[in-house]
């Protein structure tokens, strides 16, 4: 019997739960100095002077650098679709563009000395008016990059040929329109960003990093410092979460090798939580103008979404993500006409980046909110409106108007499973009862049926398997687990194919000297890329081993069987004479070139997990307070290797998705000062605010890979956010409320009730 599909307890957890992990900050580095960045306290200002004299002579200070010292060229945005003239300096030159931007670097013997000295660096700012609201950026006379002449960092509409058709809604009985704010949120991984740089005597750079993609980091450092990739070694030790925000290369980390060279010592940088909230990169930050038209009997005919993406002060990954929103624009529905337009603008705020879902939650939130608006308008149950428009299971592979090809799915089954598990009819009855009674606690039901894209970036991924001379296995991967449980998942694949015990399988990742290539872990890609490579490598190792075993058993390789239950080789038909893995491995290492296979696996394409979520909320109409009382989720990510791990991913994702809907939002005052830069003011959600989730299993394998697996890492944030938002609006729809923007704080909900009351 295969181990796959079993609830195998994570192999990595005992260490994390007992002695703890080893993070960049824990890595012993002889003689390492500490780097503290002096950060802009202004959102938008011209720097008239920087006085470092007093700080330079402060105790423990080794050096202080400002932009004038740095002889590296400013960096254009990492993504070519963005306005390449909007370059980012390493340290601020003449101007700062957001609070938190590094202005100077203090290098000190201790962290404390650095923090004390940073306070003695005096920066003279001449304040400029700040752009905080992305909706004002395009027209504003204030320009973040005066030489560039515009605040537009990308015009996705123009690039993709968007021009609103005048007859777009012809034939529609009903058209609903809404401005929807997809609120800016902070990723908040448990471990903040940290890095260290060490130059070897051979001129080789070793960079320790808290990253999601060590190999990409290596290549980018090599490029920045004019080195061959082989002259750079990146080591990612344990990494305490990333959620997408640790994929890019931060200015703060990127400058470390330069500093290390200048002071001729290893240097280390570990940000504080406040610094992390200011500079790690925020997610979402998209304003959507949606229009959906259809017939009175519930058929959607036309869907238009025009988005304004906030890139923050320097355009990067976040500025580009509306491409993902565009690709997934029409969600799970067959819609004859789809249009998508929009722009990305720069503002005097923290740059935005990828955050769990990265562009797809925005797509799902827009269409799922619009479906509810439409349902209310035509007086149909939201579940039935959805059902009437779903892509049918015999339509796969399904090509969408925006150019995606959905691999496999059965959306209607997902919806049915959900409604059944939730007891949807009974909940609607209860809702009607409470409305009739007119009490203070009203019930709301919110649906979201979603599809998302995982492993969206094409290209090969590395996975390797080796059986060492003692009959144990080493599995290597170019992805990078920073909480996802790859040590367990990949070992299960090896165990399944080779019959080697889990505890005899060592997992190696995160050191570019040991892992030659790899894209890292983001976009829920790891199992369907590296996992498949590991599976294929396992099979090939088994083939090699059978040849060796054939020799030992004096049989033809084709007649030798590997019994994965016992981990022994025998000749077909005579199971009593066996050779163990250790015998075979010893022979293979003694007589040949061992048992190691490395694979670069290129998937045929991206995969499209899907599902359906239902949120049940109670809203206190006197205070606006929302309580999420139930959350039911059907998530189909193809074949499940280990339900314990996928459930963990669903739990975390749903929690973050609910958080965006109910409480989390990064905010600035009108001058661009952050007002939510710590975890007291930024309402990160906790278990106390959440019910136990009711998870319904569903498995529709993808034909794209031999494991049948899609990705599960981001489903939670994609389905949960609109489900919760829809539920809150649904609770109040009988009062005339049609839409409330997120986060649905008590005050906001209460205000919505008041203004609906005034209108009525």
């Amino acid at each position: 019997m295969s181990i796959l599909g079993n609830r195998v307890v994570r192999l990595e957890d005992p260490r994390f739960l007992t002695v703890g992990g080893t993070y960049v900050d824990d890595v012993p580095l002889d003689g390492a100095l500490f780097v503290t960045y002096v950060r802009s306290t202004m959102a938008h200002a011209v720097i008239s002077s920087i006085d470092t004299a007093e700080a330079r002579v402060a105790p423990g200070v080794v050096a202080i650098f400002t932009a004038a010292d740095v002889d590296l060229a400013p960096r254009p945005p990492a993504i070519p679709m963005l306005n390449m003239a909007m370059t980012r300096p390493w340290l601020s030159t003449d101007r700062v563009r957001f609070v938190g931007e590094p202005v100077a670097a203090v290098v000190s013997e201790t962290r404390a000395a650095g923090v004390d000295a940073a306070e003695l660096v005096f920066v003279d700012y001449e304040p400029l008016p700040a752009i905080v609201d992305p909706e004002s950026a395009e027209q504003s006379e204030v320009l973040l990059f005066p030489d560039v002449g515009t605040n537009i960092a990308m015009d996705i509409g123009a690039m993709m040929g968007f021009s609103p058709a005048p007859d777009f809604f012809d034939g529609c009985d009903v058209v609903v329109r809404q401005r929807i704010v997809n609120n800016r949120v902070a990723p908040c991984p448990m471990e903040v960003r940290a890095a260290a740089a060490v130059w070897g005597p051979d001129g080789r750079l070793t960079q320790w990093a808290s990253t999601q993609n060590p190999n990409a980091l290596r290549d980018s450092l090599a490029e920045a410092y004019g080195l061959e990739p082989s002259q750079v070694r990146v080591i990612a030790p344990d990494v305490g979460g990333g959620f997408g925000a640790k994929t890019g290369l931060s200015t703060e980390e990127h400058l470390l090798p330069w500093i290390a060279k200048r002071v001729d010592r290893p240097v280390r940088f570990v940000e504080t939580r406040t610094e992390s909230m200011l500079t790690m990169g925020h997610g979402r930050g998209q304003t959507q103008f949606v229009e959906l038209g259809g017939t009175r009997d519930g058929k959607v005919l036309a869907w238009r979404n025009v988005v304004l993406q906030d890139a923050g002060a320097y355009p990067g990954m976040g500025g580009f993500l509306s491409f993902m929103t565009r690709l997934m624009a029409s969600g799970v529905y067959v819609i004859p006409k789809v249009e998508f337009g929009g722009k990305t603008v720069v503002t005097n705020t923290t740059p935005t980046t990828a955050y769990r879902g990265a562009g797809r939650p925005e797509a799902a939130a827009a269409i799922e909110r619009a479906m509810d608006l439409f349902a209310v308008e035509i007086g149909m149950d939201p579940a039935e409106v959805r059902r009437a428009n779903l892509i049918q299971k015999d339509q796969f592979p399904y090509a969408t108007a925006m150019g995606a090809t959905y691999d496999s799915g059965d959306y209607e089954q997902a919806l049915d499973l959900l409604l059944d598990a939730a007891g949807y009819r009974a909940l609607r009855d209860e809702q009607a009862r409470r409305r009739a009674e007119g009490g203070t606690r009203q019930l709301g039901l919110g649906l979201a049926v979603y599809v998302e894209i995982t492993s969206p970036v094409p290209g090969p991924e590395f996975g390797g398997v080796e059986v060492t001379a003692d009959g144990k296995a080493v599995v290597r991967a170019g992805t990078f687990s920073h909480g996802q449980g790859h040590a367990t998942a990949f070992a299960m694949i090896v165990a399944d194919r080779l019959g080697i015990a889990l505890e005899d399988i060592e997992f190696v990742q995160g050191d570019t000297d040991l892992i030659p290539t790899g894209q890292g872990t983001m976009g829920s890609r790891s199992l369907q890329t590296a996992g498949v490579a590991v599976a294929q490598a396992s099979t090939q190792v088994a083939d090699k081993a059978r040849e060796v075993a054939a020799n030992l058993l004096e049989a033809a390789p084709d007649d030798v069987v590997l019994d994965t239950a016992s981990g022994n080789f025998h000749v077909a038909g005579s199971p009593t004479v066996t050779r163990s893995w250790s015998e075979v491995a010893a022979a293979a290492h003694a007589d040949g070139d061992g048992l190691r296979v490395d694979i670069d696996f290129t998937p045929e394409g991206a995969s499209f997990p899907f599902g359906a979520h239902l949120a049940v909320v109670e809203v206190d109409v006197e205070t606006g307070r929302v309580e999420l009382t139930r959350f039911v989720a059907v998530d189909d990510s193809g074949r499940i290797l280990n339900p314990l791990i996928t459930e963990g991913q669903r739990h975390g994702g749903i929690a973050q998705g609910v958080a965006q809907a109910l409480m989390e939002e990064v905010r600035y005052d009108e001058d661009g000062n952050p007002v939510t830069a710590n975890l007291a003011d930024y309402a990160m959600i906790s278990a106390a605010e959440l019910p136990s989730f009711e998870l319904v299993p569903m498995e529709t394998p993808t034909p794209l890979n031999e494991l049948g697996a899609k990705g599960i890492g981001e489903s939670g944030t994609i389905g949960a956010t609109p489900a919760v938002q829809n539920a809150v609006v649904d609770a109040l729809s009988h009062l005339g409320v049609r839409h409330v923007d997120m986060p649905l704080t008590a005050e906001r909900v209460w205000q919505a009730i008041q203004s609906a009351g005034e209108k009525a």
Partner: protein, 290 residues
């Protein structure tokens, strides 16, 4: 270390503590549970040349009942207050307020004296103190004094404590007779400071259901905890309509806008919470003799 440098003192007695405090004037600050002070130091929102750690002053710890008063030493942890049988019996309002403070990890370190001295207007204990009519005991090198809770809180994070003074204990009158108590608050998340809240104590006449005494302390709706005198008086005068009592209570409040809520919303929710707490306290008082 994240805070600006400071000198650390560790007295063992109140006498030693006030001597050190007196020696350094406004450059010194007592360190109690550290749950408010340390984050402020770490963020460098506050800095002091001298920290006087009173965690080793045993005489500041303890809960005693005498002469109709409950006396709780300043360094008594919130978690100890939460679990104490005497507090549960003699100051139920304080006992019920305690689980609303932060999270258990915070209550394990946080102290009752620190909570009162810190005087965050959204804190539960200061509101309970004004509702019940508590007094705080204060020691200084020159002698000690007692201040009524109603006179102790002067503004956000500002109290009647002068430089060199140490809060040594809080004294809570034991409300006996036909009493009821309730605390209601609204916070964004479990453990967050309240956006608005109300602590209510009510004593009924023995003979009829008339209100003999009422104490209402509001929190999160002004620069200090607010004693809702008008609502208290109305209750004693026979007003029973919850919404009206809520409205009267908020007439004594002075909420402001901040990042978490507007003044208007705080007023609205505050009134609602007062109404709910008064209803619950009245119901409990009617329910029986204490």
């Amino acid at each position: 270390m994240k805070p600006a440098p400071f000198e650390y003192h560790r007295p063992d007695t109140v006498a030693e503590a006030v001597t050190v405090l007196a020696a350094h004037g406004d450059e010194a600050k007592p360190l109690a549970g550290g749950q408010s002070l340390v984050p402020m130091l770490a963020l460098r929102l506050a800095r002091f040349e001298h920290l006087v750690d009173v965690n080793f002053v045993d005489e500041l710890v303890g809960i005693d009942r005498a002469d109709g008063w409950l006396r709780i030493g300043a360094m008594t942890r919130q978690a100890a207050v939460e679990r104490d049988a005497v507090v549960a019996a003699d100051a139920p309002l304080l006992a019920r307020a305690t689980p609303l403070i932060g999270h258990f990890q915070i209550r394990n370190r946080g102290t009752i004296g620190g909570s009162l001295a810190h005087a965050d207007p959204a804190s539960e204990y200061p509101a309970v103190a004004v509702a019940l009519g508590a007094e705080v005991e204060i020691a200084a090198a020159g002698g000690s004094r007692t201040v009524a809770a109603a006179d102790f809180f002067l503004g956000t994070w500002t109290t009647a404590l002068a430089d060199g003074e140490l809060l040594t204990a809080v004294r809570l009158p034991v409300w006996s007779g036909r009493c009821g108590f309730a605390i209601e608050e609204m916070a964004r998340r479990l453990g967050d400071f309240a956006l608005a809240g109300a602590a209510v104590a009510i004593r009924l006449n023995d003979a009829d259901d008339g209100v003999a005494a009422a104490g209402i302390g509001l929190f999160g709706v002004g620069p200090t905890p607010v004693k809702a005198r008008r609502a208290e008086a109305a209750l004693v005068a026979g007003e029973r309509h919850p919404a009206e009592i809520g409205r009267l209570a908020m007439a004594d409040a002075d909420p402001t806008d901040d990042v978490h809520a507007t003044a208007g919303y705080r007023t609205r929710v505050g009134a609602h919470l007062v109404a709910r707490a008064v209803e619950r306290a009245l119901a409990e008082a009617r329910g029986g003799q204490r």
